[in-house]
Each structure stands twice: as C-alpha cells, then as structure tokens.
C-alpha cells in the first residue's frame, strides 16, 4: 500500500522533490530544479525559446526581484511593472508560489495581490518559481504551514494550483488549457 510509502518519504527534500516530479509528470506539468538564480533564468530562457514567446509578464516577489527578470531574457522584454494592461496578451506569466505539496504536486500561493493572481491565470503558460525548501509531503502538512503562518487571519485569496487548466466536458475527452494556462512549468530553486 502506498499509505506506508508516505512515511518513508518523510521530510527529505530530494525525496519530496522526486515525489513531486513523479506526480507532476502524470499531469503534464514540466518541472525543473535550479541551484541558483542564474539557473532559473536559463530555464525561463529555454521555455521562452521553445514556445517562441513574444511577450512575458512577471510578478516581482522578493525572490523574483532578487533573481531579476528584467533584461535577463534574450529576445523578449519581461514586463514587471503595470502588468495589468499587458497580461491579457502575454504568452507567459511568471510568479512565485509559496508551498509545494509533493504527494499531489500542488502549489499553494497567497494570491492577495491582483497582479500576482492574473499573471498565473490569463497567459497560456504559467512559470511558477518555488523554493525547494518549501516542499512538504502532503496536504495536511501544507495546512499546518498555513496555520502557523496566518492563524485565523488567512489571506483573502489562497490559490491551490495542480497541473494545467483542463476539462473533460465534451465526450470525456481530456483537453488541456480551458480558462487557465494550458502549460504549467515549475522551477524549484535551491
């Protein structure tokens, strides 16, 4: 039984990462692991090139500001200011997510900021940046983290994201990318 397997996984980051990847693969989520900010930029560059993206928007969290998206990606100007007007026509949106749940490959985000929210909702590709340290084994662990951090003052908008947007509403044919992004890329940064 896989229930026993959970216990084995424990809190070892490498194991949690492997578990996340294993589940993500079944959902067509692309996962990378970067050792540094520069490596994050390399993976973003790779996605931009492969998708032939013309327009990229990013929401600058502390981490993303530190990595510095602006001017680092060849061929596109990454917009991080006044993105509300740009986001609807962007090919890629980049934002930081707060918690990663290994078992279900779920990302959790305090999405109080309107800009942060639309960056992950409207473009066809969403690149999610997560600190590897923020991996937890299962959903109850994530709730524990949220409880510790916020108590009952939970953020007004909490977003849980697992894989791309999808539907099976026509003849139960699984189709990726309805209202949200059809491609989800997760870059873990050590």
């Amino acid at each position: 039984m896989a229930v026993a397997e959970d216990k084995v996984i424990g809190n070892n980051l490498d194991e949690l990462y492997d578990r996340f990847v294993k589940k993500a693969e079944t959902l067509t989520t692309q996962v990378y692991r970067a050792k540094s900010g520069n490596e994050v930029l390399e993976y973003i560059q790779k996605e931009v090139n492969e998708l032939g993206a013309k327009k990229v928007v990013g929401h600058e969290s502390e981490l993303l500001a530190e990595i510095g998206l602006k001017g680092k990606i060849e061929g596109v100007d990454v917009k991080t200011k006044n993105i509300v007007e740009e986001v609807e026509t962007a090919d890629i949106g980049i934002s930081e997510l707060d918690i990663a749940v290994a078992k279900s490959s779920t990302l959790i985000q305090n999405a109080e900021s309107y800009e942060k929210r639309v960056v992950s909702m409207l473009p066809k590709t969403h690149i999610a940046i997560v600190k590897t340290n923020n991996l937890v084994p299962d959903l109850p662990d994530a709730f524990e983290v949220l409880r510790e951090k916020y108590g009952t003052a939970v953020p007004p908008y909490l977003a849980f994201i697992t894989g791309p947007s999808k539907t099976a509403d026509i003849e139960r044919t699984l189709t990726i990318g309805v209202h949200g992004p059809g491609r989800l890329v997760v870059i873990f940064v050590d």
């Binding site: 109080e112 639309v118 909702m121 959903l139 939970v154 908008y157 697992t162 099976a168 309805v178 209202h179």
Partner: protein, 713 residues
Amino acid sequence: MSMLAKKELTDNIKKALNNENLRSALGSFADGFVQDRNAAYEDEDFEALRKKVREARDYAVEHLDELADKFQEEAEKRGAIVYRAKDAQDANQYIQKLCEEKGVETVVKSKSMATEEIFLNKHLEKHDIDITETDLGEWILQLQESHPSHMVMPAIHLKKEEVADLFSEEVGYEVSPEVEGQVELARQELRKKFLSAGMGITGGNLAIAETGTIALVTNEGNARLTTTLPPIHVAVVGYEKLIAKFEDAIAALKALPRSATAQHITSYVTMVTGQVPTIVEGEEGKKELHIILLDNGRREMLSDPTFKQAARCLRCASCLNVCPIYKQVGGHVYGHVYAGGIGSILTAFFHGYETSDDVQEMCIGCRRCAEFCPGNINIPDLILELRRRLTEKRGLPFIFNVGIKGILGNSRLMHTGLKLASKFQGPITDGDMIRHLPLAFSEITECKSLPKIADKPFRDQIKNINQKVDSPTETVAFYAGCAIDFAYPEVGTSLVKVLNKENIKVEFPQTQACCGVPAKYLGDMETMRKLAKQNIKALEGSYDHIITACPTCAEAVIEGFAEALAGEPEWQRRAKKVASKVKDFSQYLANKGYEVGDGTKKRKVTYHDSCHLTRSLRLQEKPREVLKSSNNIDFVEMRDSDICCGFGGSYSFKHPNVAKEVLKDKLDNVEATGADTLAMDCPGCLMQLKGGADKHGVNIDVKHTAEILAENL
C-alpha cells in the same frame, strides 16, 4: 404520484433507452469509473477519509446556528456582506436587485448546483440581465437551453457533433466536431465575457466558519477568473456546506476529486476570505463580496433526524457513476436538477416532497451507491424512508393496496391464492416457465420468462420428506420466503438434503409468512409490522439456528423486523432474539468448514453476488468458500459480479424496460466467462437470471448454491 407524472417518467425512460449516444457515453464511463476511482484511492484510506468527512459535516449539522453565525461574523469582519436567503425567490431577487443597484448588465457564472437549483439564470434573463455560464459543459447546455444530466459532467449525454452545431450557431460560422478546437473556441469566446462582466457568481464547495472562507473546486480555472476579473463577486452557498475549522477542509478536498473524477486534487482550489484587492479600469480598490447562505429547504433537511445525514453530500456524483439504473437512463430521466438516488432526496427537500415522488421510484435498492459515497450517506435507506413518508401522505396505489395489504398481509389468503393460481396458469406456461403474459403485462415477459408457480409449494413438499437424521447434531428452522416456497421449492428440498447429510434436522414452521419486504419497499410499514409479528411468533421455537436461503428475507429477519417494531419494545426484544439465530445457508455451511464432496458434477461455475448478500449481510465470500472446496468445480469470476441483476423485487415489474437493460449487461458478463453454470444465493436473482437466460437463449445452468451442492448426494 399523479398519472401525468407517471406518464412523463415512462416517456422519459423510453426516450433515454432509445438514445444511443447517451447509452454508449454512459456505458463506457461506468465501465471505466470504478477502476479509475479505486486507483485514485490507492494512496488514501477511503474509510478513514470518509470518516473525517462525516465527522466534520455531522459536527456542523449539530452546531448549525452557531457555525452560520460564526461564518457570517468572520466573513463580515473581513468586508463581505452575508445574506441569508430563505428560498429560491429570495436569493434570486437579492442578486437581481444588486445587479440593478450597481448597474450590472452582464454576469459570468462558474459551475454551481445551488444556482441551478434556484433557476437563477432564468430569473436574471427575465430581468434583462445577461448571464453566461463559463464551465464548458454548462455553457454548452446554456446554448442548448437545456440543463445538466450529471452533477460533475453536466453535458456527458452530448456528442461533439451536437456541440459543433451549437457552437456554429453561437459564433455564426461552421465549427468542426473536433474537441480541442471546440475547447479553444470556448476559451476565446468566454474570455471576452470574463473581461467585460460586471459581476461574477459562484457556488461554494465549502464554507469555513472559523475564517469566513468560501472554498471553490474546479479544473478549468473558471472559478478563479469569475472571482478575480469582475468587480463584484456573489457566492451562493447552501447551509450544508458549513464546516467548523480550516483544517476540516482537508478531507473534503481529498475525497471530492477522488470520488468525482478520480483525481488526487482538482487543478484549482480557490479560497476566498472576505474582500480581496482588485483593479477596475486602472483603479485599485477592494472587490465587493456578497455571500448568500441559502436555505431553500435545507434547514428542514438538516433538522430531520433521518435526513440530516444528506448534509454530508459533497456533490461528487459517484453514487450516479456506480448506479446500474443511472448507467442505463442518464440524468434527465429524473426530471430535476439533482439526479439519481441522492438527487431524489435533495429534490424532496429543495423542491417539495411530491416533486420527488416519481424519481425516488427509479431506485432499485441495490445499495451499491452507499459503498462508494465519500460522505457515508445511506442513500438507499433514505429513499425507503422518503417512500414511506410519501406513501403515508397519499396512500398506496389501488392495485398495490389490494395486492400488498389485502393479500400479502394475509398469509392464508395468499397461500390459498397461489395454490389456486398454480392450477389455472396452464394456458400461459410452457414447461417450467411462463414465457408470455397477455396484453398489459406483456412488457414484463419481454425481457425474461417467469417461473411458473410450483404445483406443490415447499410448505407442502416438506411434509413428505423423510428426513433420515436419527440423532441430529443440530435442529434448525428453515425460513424459506415466498420465492422458494412457491416458485423454487427445489431450492428448499436441496437445502434439506444437504443439511440432512450433515446430520442436521430441518423444521419448517408452517405459520411463517412473507418477510414483508415488498410492502416495506412500497412504503407500507403497517403491513411490514403485521408480517414481522407473525414471523416472529412462527420462528420463536427452540431451534439451534434459523436458516435462510434468501438474503432479502434474511436481512428482514435480522434487521427489518426489529426496525419496523421500534415503537413496540416487547416485540422488538422478541425480534432481536429471533434475529440472533439467523444464518444464511452458505454462511452456515462455510462456518462449519463444509466441503463439497468430489461426487458432484464437473462444472465451470461463475458467481453472481446478490445485492443483499453482499452489501447488507456482507457474506459474499461464504458461497465462494463452499463452492471452491470441490475439486470438480472450476470457479471463474465474472466482471462486475457485484452489480445488480435488475430484479430488485417489484422493480422489475414496475420498470421492466430498465430492468431488461441491467439484466442484459449482467448476462453479457456471464457469457464472457465461458462458464457452464451461474451460481447465486438469492431466489430473486434466480428468477431474474434464469428467466433472462431462457429468454435471451444463453445456454447456461442457473442455480442456487444449494442446488449445486445437493447434486449426486
């Protein structure tokens, strides 16, 4: 039920059974669902999870006012406006007035059963407010001016060709019947709506009191856009969605997607807690949030000692997905917003008792849904209770009144009548079977031949059996039930033969009568109580055990009698004493370590699990143990052995055309095994499957386990 409603139901059933698209969609879905769903639960303990779901909801029901107040307080503290709507009109008017007040002309909506239930779209359209469904399936149905046939997959009954026609009409150019393109078209068309809407309306999967949070579960991401883009958000949430603590959400978030779509979690879970920042026309501000706590019959349901458990429904629809009846007819036959078994219960409270009268009748009582329900709701028992209350209100239909009260309830009259009938059935019998019934009854024999009434019932045959058991190790009473007594006495004589061989003496208390289940299933508890008392008196002798060979009768004696006599403590005590002695035939043998001698005929046997043996008595392993003990029996399992054969007591007579389709599925599975013998432990199933095999020309021996064991003894 009124004649009109009855006619409408019959017509709907006919239409559904003739709809090939629907049948093939539902068939392939049902076949794959259980496997996928079970795989999704491989890493979670289903029983532990549903216990948590149950505890969270039960707690909320017991503290409903407290939690509703707390929810309102916390949500309002965070800037939301909470409105308690007593019914559909109240909720609809609130939203309409809000639109008018704020000058909202266009609204987007994400999937919500509660707003379907109150017919919100119709109401807003009547007031010239443009409302668009944004869930793909719901949008398709809105274009078709139709309604969902399934809670989770609303348009499961439509083909992509039909979708193409609807889309072509909407956009004004030819759309091809290709799903990926259709989804892209929906994305583009609905994106425009999202960006221009003045209001977003959602339902709510959970309402967390502690924090005033609404949780929304979707795969497409439309709830995220609905709650983010328009400047006003209105959430319509039923009282039953309340839970106390933030952490109480975990079990529901795990169980709902696993049971609904075999996912570990949906693509998106959105938790909205109070007002959230937004940007409208370049201006930063706080988004307006209105939460409507909807009653519309819920509070009555939640305060009803029997029906309050329906609050545990997560709207996953797995009860529909495993229902052998739903598989045949789909959701529209039920004629209401909420389909299937749980649907008839919710409909009764949300839309009025009488409204559910025709739909509750669709339940065959196989209990499979209860096994799968992540809220651990005893759906079949709730339907029986609903039926009982409806019958109390309007009485039994005339024909059943004569049949059930007048004949079933009077065992002497029934036994005499059946004996007489056995003499006069000559013109319609053909060997051991009745293959055609005249005129009005012909539909019944269209799918299966009926057994003829035995020339000599078991109650008379036993008198002439010379039981050569000189010093018996045990003396048991045999409670035969009507089907064995009057249709299949050979099951009874086989049983006696097998038990005698084991040095056990069998007595047949002659005053035993029908177990009363047919009356109970029609909602007639008065007759049930009368028969319970008569049987208790008959079975109270000093027997070592009471043996049954019909699981429905066994269930009646074990649970049904005491339940029916709950208001009469002395009778209930006697009922429980009798109940404690009951053993089903195969169980009795298996517990004794019985082994079938190698003298039996060589057979390749497949086994049909009777609903009540499996899901009420939980004895499905016992007959297998017994049958597999013989070297001469090659045992093969069939696919879906636990799915109902379509008999369901009076069901196969009430809805013969539906029962026929259920039967056909079963016979297909039987044939696929290549077995020469089909075994079971229920005379009701025996009637259905023996008759079905005969009618469909399936060349197989259909036998009760007792008959197989008695061979060559």
